[in-house]
Symmetry: C2
Subunit: 328 residues, 2 copies
């Protein structure tokens, strides 16, 4: 099957929300009056971002989910996406599964595939996603101010827990492993929460590389610092919150530097706590207040006595050999 047949069979669907979709030189988008278009792009490479053995349905889901998570972090409503695929061979069962997982998530968010490119080559997936946000209301990394609270959505570190189980560095009961594996392979982008936080949160970021590293971007862009108690870790990791016993330092590492969480970390003025909780309720997404923004730059991790301690967590970096992602 050639490139054009492949596109037509698996990836060409009529558009409803956008003026022109797959099949011409360009797609056409038209944001509603007063809206800005939020754009993000993510490149996933086999062996770095996913295991070669992953279910193609889950891979299709995840490839779009990690992009939708960026829209969520800006408070943008999904609108459309493009898909570029490099494939070592044309494997119809794989393509059918990939398309199924991709479109299932796309349909949940009314996010239409409007264009793309396919080529032979080592397996790689690039999605560029487009969302709408009212002009001037996008959540940015730069808006955190001293006195703000720091919040996170959902639970953190379970994706990393699953990866460590795959590697054999931790042994998990089957049920715990399956739940953690779903967190790794089927992340749920927090789109509803991101949109509900417009006008409430002062800054936001999605957690792809680990809380410490990603929150660090917010702190640098905002010119502020934060303190977070390490003791929060066991309650933020779903598996330990549910009773799993794990070495405390590993739990801290998974929660603060695990990667692949695709939750939101955000800041909001202390005066808006009720508004944050209302947004979380309206989105059906749990949130936890984990610390506060301070004027002194840098991220401080606090021990049980409230003393800042040194941990060698590094923000995840796809160029370094990383325990979190170099999973091939």
């Amino acid at each position: 099957m050639g490139e054009f047949d492949l596109i037509a069979r698996y990836f060409e669907r009529p558009v409803r929300r956008n003026p022109l979709g797959v099949g011409d030189d360009c797609a056409l988008l038209q944001p509603a009056p007063g809206m800005q278009l939020a754009v993000s792009t993510d490149l996933l490479v086999e062996g770095r971002h996913f295991l070669s053995t992953v279910d193609p349905r889950r891979l299709g889901h995840k490839a779009l989910a990690v992009n939708l998570s960026d829209l969520a972090a800006c408070g943008a409503q999904p609108l459309a996406f493009t898909l570029s695929l490099a494939l070592p061979r044309v494997d119809e069962a794989w393509l059918a599964g990939f398309a199924e997982g991709l479109f299932a998530l796309a349909d949940v968010h009314a996010c239409e595939l409007v264009g793309g490119d396919t080529t032979g080559g080592p397996l790689a997936i690039n999605i560029t996603v487009f969302g709408e946000v009212p002009a001037g209301q996008a959540l940015l990394r730069s808006g955190a101010r001293a006195g703000d609270d720091v919040w996170v959505s959902g639970t953190l570190g379970d994706a990393r827990l699953a990866l460590e189980a795959f590697r054999g560095t931790v042994s998990l009961p089957q049920e715990v492993f399956e739940a953690a594996r779903r967190r790794l392979e089927l992340p749920q982008p927090r789109v509803a929460l991101g949109c509900a936080l417009r006008g409430v949160a002062s800054a936001a970021i999605d957690l792809s590389d680990g809380l410490a590293g990603d929150l660090g971007h917010v702190l640098r862009r905002s010119g502020v610092g934060a303190s977070l108690p390490l003791a929060l870790a066991p309650q933020l990791l779903a598996a330990t919150a549910a009773g799993l016993q794990l070495d405390a330092q590993r739990v801290e590492e998974f929660v603060f530097a695990g990667g692949d969480d695709y939750e939101l970390a955000f800041t909001a003025p202390a005066s808006r706590r009720e508004a944050v909780l209302d947004a979380a309720r309206s989105a059906g997404t749990p949130v936890t207040r984990i610390g506060g923004i301070e004027a002194a730059p840098g991220l401080r991790l606090l021990d049980a006595r409230g003393q800042a301690v040194v941990r060698k967590f590094a923000g995840f970096d796809h160029f370094r050999t990383s325990p979190a992602h170099d999973a091939g």
Copy 2:
């Protein structure tokens, strides 16, 4: 050097035309009132779309040029782009050269880099480009009508000539080779022509896979056919137009199925010939009228007596082993 340092050093530049660029979860674009956003994406993989030995400046140019060519084919004015890079290693000289070639072309078209992603992996480049076009005025593949003329811009087949010289299947004088190599490595997207053809052309496409295959997309989308004389080939190939002697069938193959031309093929009513020539003059881009659109579907290639003849030109397909692009 890690991912974030790399982005900051080579790819983070302030935006002027767009509300928000590199450095947050999303970029923000805001098309002017009444404008639609044209979007296209191209994935280039080493060994398929470019030789591993290519000058990184030329590769940076070409990676953006092939995307701008899609905007040109829609009559859209460039606005912004995102860049995803998978790199086997961090080679600063290569990155500096790539960025130089990329931004030189971007600056010509006032097209701003607004976001991207970088990762380790086999060398691959994905650019998604954004342009503005007045709502309802985009040039589409579907607008050709019987009686329209068929036109092409510039010259065709010289990129393929250079590729064949690299392969040793043709021997060229040094000057001819260098000129052809520039066509292969430094394609010039026909942005000014595409914009000037708004309201004049009835359909358009950019020529990436060869005239016969790409014009075939226009014919199918428009439900029409066309006849083109094979005898046009020597005058459309710059090298033979300038006096190079080549086997006639090879010239036909290079011109009709060469690939990598990044010229525009377009149709326009016969009544608009003067308007087409005015658009070409205003854009500073030569155009040639090469045939006519007919009601009977399919592309007919005509011999010197006006008889349709069979040629085994295939539209280029990045999944098949193709002489035009499988250049590793």
